[in-house]
Amino acid sequence: MRRAIVATILQREWYETVRNRLLMSTILLPPILLTVAPIILAGAVGERALPPELERQILSQKPEWASFTPGELAGAFAVQQFLVFFLLMPAYIPLSIATFSIIGEKQSRSLEPVLAAPIRTSELLAGKAIAALVPGLLAGWATYAIFVLLASVVYGPALFGVVTDLSWLAGVFLLGPAVGLSSVVAGVIVSARVNDPRVAQQVGGVVIVPVIALVLVQATGTLLVGPLGYLLLSVGVLAISLVGLRVGVRLFDREAILTRWR
């Protein structure tokens, strides 16, 4: 695979992405909301204590939080819910970019001249995949960094410790990229079959369902996923993504694009 070719495709993808106002608004708005919302929520919870039953349930799974005051424990529990939201960014941003990019090229019929050039379809797919994946990961990581900074400034060392523990780091830096890759794969597979980016996003949005399920499970306090849990989830999602990638590569074959993509 020639890096110069991949970089050329990547550069053009980003050039077009930043000029697509609709796409940019869907990429930029949620990270801003997701940075501010947890801080406001933790503040709103304030010094209010959790119901004793829930408190017991949480401490049984997070014994390291036993030293927290009731207010810190409530804030830590509230903030904990938002970890999964940082997984949503690597999920939906690559999906949006990949579907807009591939379906946009289908609609403008611009892939055929590209495929007529002496490039390999793996280089084309790599360029498109990286162009879709990187903004999602960077948005997730940048938002997380800002969130950690705000949490430590506003709520002190207790919450800072919560949002930088191994669970969070594994979630943001291991599961995030795995979810991002699964999202790109879903975008490629779905975009090969449909001709409307919005439909593709709705269908491809299936990858977000497990993330939402994780939110719900955590919100009830019945299961707070730890570092090992995130590691296992990352491996599982990565394995599924790699299987999907094989399907995606087949769909992205030169002949398949020219003769079957409609």
Partner: protein
């Protein structure tokens, strides 16, 4: 420079830019094209002429290594389309059925992107982009996004894109389809410019006039190559010349029958009140035709030898007799 073009000497004959032998492609159970035998000399303009669905685009895609043949072989500059596809792609330029430009990118950025894909360095890209944008009259619009261009301008920009890497063979697939007359004229002028510059061009079209004007040879395509020859040779070999006779009135059956008895007359047809007589040599038979008509009581107003239109050649080669039955009833 990161070149994507192999420098090894081509294996094929140096005067041939393109060769194909028994080339065919099947989709499922259906053959799109089959048995394509072709040799295109350098500097030649070859037309692929045929109706929609005849296999022109499939042939172009096979010859440009975009899809693999199901049988047979083809090569560009001696490089095999199946085994040396990257080398073939580096040596061909293609204008696809639709321009396929990036509408949000300026004209110059569209070309620069493809220049990079073809491995041209920055200096080469700058020089060639300026050269081709000037050649096609787009230099002043170089910073405008392609989406603001007219259809004709988009086609010209797409042709510039196809030429950027200095290809051995340029493939133009339906370059004037869906264009208005003005845009089509502009694009034909652009192709004429390339032809004068000695480019090897394969022009897929169903526009008979375009093929007649621009091509050195025409390959009639219908699921394969039905016939390949120059327009002049096709007219000669097929004996497709005519003697046009205008009478003072409508030609009667007896008068037409009298003409048919003249030696050298191969066919007769009355269209728009004009008697058209098929023959190899209209000049030689003209006196005998006039005598036969006068004897049978006709008044000859005008008589003129004509070369058959490419439309007639097309129907002859394709073995098609277009039916106009029922049209008058509808009108």
């Amino acid at each position: 420079m990161t070149s994507t073009r192999s420098d090894r000497p081509p294996d094929g004959p140096p005067d041939l830019a393109l060769e194909a032998s028994g080339l065919g492609r099947r989709f499922g159970d259906r053959w799109a094209v089959r048995g394509v035998d072709l040799a295109v000399r350098r500097g030649e303009v070859l037309g692929l002429l045929g109706p929609n669905g005849a296999g022109k685009t499939t042939t172009v895609r096979l010859l440009t290594a975009l899809i693999e043949p199901s049988e047979g072989t083809a090569s560009i500059d001696g490089f095999d389309v199946r085994d040396e596809a990257d080398d073939v792609r580096a040596r061909v330029g293609i204008l696809t059925e639709t321009p396929g430009l990036y509408d949000k990118l300026p004209a110059i950025a569209n070309l620069d992107f493809f220049g990079r894909l073809y491995g041209l360095d920055a200096a080469q890209r700058a020089e060639r982009i300026e050269r081709y944008l000037r050649l096609f009259g787009l230099w002043d619009r170089r910073d405008d996004v392609a989406g603001t261009f007219s259809k004709g301008m988009k086609q010209k920009l797409a042709i510039a894109r196809a030429l950027l890497h200095d290809p051995s063979v340029v493939f133009l697939d339906e370059p004037t389809a869906a264009l208005d007359p003005e845009a089509a004229f502009i694009v034909r002028e652009a192709i004429e410019t390339l032809r004068r510059a000695g480019r090897t061009i394969v022009l897929a079209t169903h526009n008979l006039d375009e093929a007649d004007r621009l091509c050195d040879r025409i390959a009639f395509v219908r699921g394969g190559l039905v016939r390949v020859d120059s327009p002049a040779a096709l007219r000669g070999v097929l004996g497709l010349r005519e003697l046009m006779v205008r009478l003072s009135g409508v030609a009667s059956e007896a008068q037409i029958e009298a003409v048919r008895t003249v030696d050298g007359v191969s066919a007769t047809q009355v269209t728009d009140g004009v008697l058209r007589i098929g023959t190899d040599d209209p000049e030689s038979i003209a006196p005998a035709v006039v005598r036969a008509l006068v004897v049978s009581g006709a008044d000859v107003v005008e008589l003129r030898p004509e070369r058959a239109s490419l439309e007639r050649i097309y129907f002859e080669v394709m073995g098609v007799t277009p039916s106009t039955d029922g049209i008058e009833d509808v009108v």
